[in-house]
């Protein structure tokens, strides 16, 4: 009798004292990979959101799909390729390096180099043009 009561109490205990919350996904490692992958992927139906952030039905389907692909043992690259084969490069928030995107990736560096180079030459030319004045510089 006592034993039975104990069992019932034990069964009920989660309701009485509360249990430790369970993670939404079964395997935290898979969830972590899903998160890092889906942050680089675009939710196609949304205006401009990552798959990780979106709660659109298609985004949920795609997250489920990715979770299954991870479970199957596919690498991140294989999974990305899987999605690109279906939706095109548009799904990738990190555009692939291709001839069309070369300028996108080297552009910022070029801008910086061109700017610094331009500044260097301008300053040199400028100093050659200006007379050397010797008045005392003031503190700011």
């Amino acid at each position: 009798m006592m034993k039975k009561l104990m069992v019932i109490l034990l069964l009920l205990s989660p309701l009485l004292v509360g249990a430790e919350a369970r993670p939404l996904g079964d395997d935290p490692a898979i969830e972590a990979r899903l998160k890092s992958l889906s942050q680089e992927l675009r939710c196609l139906v949304c205006q401009n959101q990552t798959l990780a952030d979106s709660s659109a039905p298609l985004a949920e389907d795609l997250r489920r799909e990715i979770r299954e692909l991870i479970t199957k043992g596919m690498t991140d690259k294989e999974i990305t390729d899987y999605l690109v084969a279906r939706y095109g490069d548009f799904v990738r928030y990190r555009p692939p390096m291709k001839p069309q995107t070369a300028l996108l990736w080297v552009g910022p560096g070029l801008l910086l180099l061109a700017g610094l180079g331009g500044l260097w030459f301008t300053l040199r030319k400028r100093n050659a043009q200006l007379p050397d004045d010797n008045e005392e510089g003031e503190e700011a």
């Binding site: 389907d61 799909e65 939706y87």
Partner: protein, 176 residues
Amino acid sequence: MKGSMKFLLPLAIFLILVGFFAAGLKLDPREVPSPLINKPAPAFRLPQLGAADKTFSPEDMRGQVWLLNVWASWCSACREEHPLLMEMSRQNAVPLIGLDYKDTDADANGVLTQAGNPYKLVATDADGRVGIDYGVYGVPETYVIDKAGVIRYKQIGPITEEALRDKIMPLVKGLQ
């Protein structure tokens, strides 16, 4: 570079930008072209709507030019193209297969009884997996598939009269 020419550089760059913006006004940034064009239509085998014992696979259509129209009862834009689909089925120009995307059979049947059924048959993709294989992101979408089972064209969004007249039907005629 001549001394005063370099001062024109900002203006020149700006004018190029304006050119791109003007071109951009005519484009729809939300329309994603399908990478599946000219690739074999992904295989699947799905139950048919209203005939649970029968299934459909793209293989069944081998040797024919056909349209795969992705739709759903919850999709309001699908109603826009529905009259055109009905018209097509009356003319019997090309076999029209429906793919009922993330829907329940009851709802789908409801719509078809009410508004008419333009489809030769409808395959049901209840969990949307085949949709993912076809790169469906906004319903309705329509694929033109040739005799060899290769996707030749994808209409994103409702079929319009212009799209039907200028793109889809000429393509279908050519393929047949």
